[in-house]
């Protein structure tokens, strides 16, 4: 199945980079501009805090979610809209190869772009704000960013595929996914604010000192479980007959 997933990956990446009509336009808008923005402009503006701030891991966790969400809506809804889905379903590719190929392409895009931006951001911060010292994420934070951005990409990809499988059009898929992301984002934000003061203190304790690693592991496990549940739901939803008749 791996060669089939790679074939799908080849196709999906080509489609991402050709969506502006030319390869140059696609690479520029889907790769170069986001990397320059996240790896040069924002670190330049952020200064040393880009590396040292406690909010940095949270930023890098949210980022791939939005990056993936912009492209994953197209996965099945786009094929349906452009009338290419039936030809794909009539091919020898298995259900899992098609589904995992779509998810893998979105994850590699979101996670890859995040890691590239992260690395470039370090270079930028050190060049512009280093003043002779090495500004570097603590090992724990770096590991957290790498792991959480992967899990975040997978979360957006699996949720996005599930939405795209059901949506009649790309626009509908994008709207549903955007609303879902906003609900989660603002839900978490306002949810934390609404907590009683003593709960907030306890929560802050969980994210500090010796508790941090344990909290990170728990958060990672929850995300991984959520990813697995969404992939499973997408696998259950992926039925050729249903996709054709939809």
């Amino acid at each position: 199945m791996i060669p089939d997933i790679l074939t799908m990956l080849w196709k999906e990446w080509n489609e991402i980079f050709l969506q502006r009509g030319t390869l140059r336009g696609g690479v520029l808008s889907s790769l170069v501009i986001p990397i320059l923005l996240l790896g040069v402009f924002l670190p330049w503006q952020g200064g040393p805090a880009w590396v040292t701030s406690a909010a940095v891991p949270v930023t890098w966790m949210w980022l791939p979610l939005f990056l993936v969400a912009t492209m994953i809506s197209d996965s099945f809804a786009g094929e349906r809209e452009r009338k290419t889905l039936e030809a794909l379903l009539a091919s020898r590719l298995s259900d899992r190869a098609i589904l995992f190929g779509k998810i893998a392409s979105a994850v590699t895009y979101g996670w890859g772009l995040t890691l590239a931006s992260l690395a470039l951001g370090l270079v930028t911060v050190n060049l512009l704000h280093g003043r002779g010292r090495l500004l570097m994420y603590p090992a724990n934070t770096a590991a957290l960013i790498v792991a959480m951005s992967l899990l975040g990409s997978a979360l957006a990809a699996s949720a996005g595929v599930l939405v795209s499988l059901r949506a009649a059009t790309v626009r509908q898929a994008q709207q549903t996914l955007s609303i879902a992301l906003l609900v989660v984002f603002f839900g978490l934000m306002f949810g934390v604010r609404a907590l009683p003061a003593e709960w907030k203190v306890r929560l802050a304790e969980e994210f500090a000192g010796s508790n941090l690693v344990r909290t990170e592991v728990i958060a990672g496990a929850v995300l991984a479980l959520l990813d697995a549940a969404l992939v499973r739901a997408a696998m259950a939803r992926f039925q050729r007959a249903r996709l054709i008749l939809d």
């Binding site: 060669p3 089939d4 074939t7 080849w10 196709k11 080509n14 489609e15 050709l18 969506q19 009509g21 452009r82 009338k83 290419t84 889905l85 039936e86 030809a87 794909l88 379903l89 009539a90 091919s91 020898r92 590719l93 298995s94 050729r240 007959a241 054709i244 008749l245």
Partner: protein
């Protein structure tokens, strides 16, 4: 007789209250072009989807290339190619990349992939335009590329769902010629749905006619023509009103009339002409020449459709 490539038994598919395919029994022999004729909405596309294992039948069963469509659809798709309702091309890709993607799907090795893509694009006259994005291509060119895609991996069987629909007559004829050449050259079995009767007559060794999901007739186009209304033109004299009335009274005569001094008779299915000639002679007519003609497939098709409506 070799095992059929396609065999359906009581194949039925319902969509809620609508029966799209109704108790279909057909067999398709290997190496033949099988035409599946019917008007729009008669169940042709649903049948193809069931044969490819994309849709499950509500009742009945189908075997394609020896595999059950319910349980072994992956094996069927592995060995067959399909051009379905839409060309299904990735219009952001060039023609070459479209074929390249599907060649990868069928795991053609790189050298074979390049050679096969070139061979097919050259055959369809698209090689010079292989680098072009297909978005701006004409429908005819897209259909050709989609047929090339269906043939890419040397399938044993290809399904073509209305391959010439929407093409202008010149493009349709060209594609038809290319299909005939390719089917013969590659020895592939073709399951072709169409509502173009001349296309079926020209390409198909065997045809089936369906309407509202029901199989109305199946056979070689000549056999079907023989079952349809036949015509006879008789030259001579003495074709009085009385003679014509006696002729029209016969059950095997659908119509009889004088046209430019010649007697034109339309016969019902399987009618014999000799007893009618004998009747004319007995009634006093002088017969100089009798010409018998078969109905065209189109006439047979229309008759079948009318019979069902009646």
């Amino acid at each position: 007789m070799p095992d059929p490539v396609i065999r359906t038994q009581g194949l039925t598919r319902d969509f809620k209250q609508v029966r799209a395919v109704d108790d279909l029994d057909i067999e398709v022999a290997p190496g033949t072009v099988f035409g599946f004729l019917g008007p729009n909405g008669s169940g042709k596309t649903t049948t193809i989807r069931m044969l490819l294992g994309l849709l499950e039948p509500t009742r009945g069963r189908a075997q394609v290339l020896g595999f059950d469509t319910r349980t072994q659809s992956g094996e069927i798709r592995q060995r067959s190619g399909a051009l379905l309702e839409h060309p299904g091309l990735y219009e952001r890709f060039s023609a070459e990349d479209n074929l390249g993607f599907f060649a990868r799907i069928w795991r053609l090795p790189a050298a074979e992939r390049r050679a096969r893509i070139r061979e097919l694009l050259e055959h369809f006259g698209l090689w010079e335009r292989r680098k072009e994005n297909t978005a701006k291509w004409s429908r005819g060119m897209k259909q050709k590329l989609a047929v090339a895609r269906a043939l890419l991996h040397h399938p044993t069987l290809i399904f073509l769902d209305e391959p010439t629909a929407g093409l202008d007559p010149v493009a349709a004829t060209a594609l038809r010629d290319e299909l005939a050449t390719l089917a013969a050259r590659e020895g592939v079995t073709v399951f072709l749905t169409t509502h173009n009767l001349s296309e079926a007559e020209r390409l198909c060794g065997r045809v089936a006619v369906i309407r509202e999901g029901k199989l109305l007739a199946v056979g070689h186009p000549d056999e079907l023509r023989a079952t349809g209304a036949q015509k006879a033109e008789i030259s001579g004299g003495g074709f009085t009103e009385e003679v014509l009335a006696r002729l029209r009274a016969r059950p095997e005569v659908a119509a009889a009339q004088l046209e430019n001094g010649k007697l034109s008779i339309e016969l019902r299915s399987h009618a014999q002409l000799a007893p009618l000639v004998s009747l004319l002679v007995t009634a006093g007519a002088q017969i100089e020449e009798v010409r018998k003609g078969k109905a065209s497939l189109e006439e047979v098709f229309l008759t079948l459709m009318e019979e069902e409506v009646e």
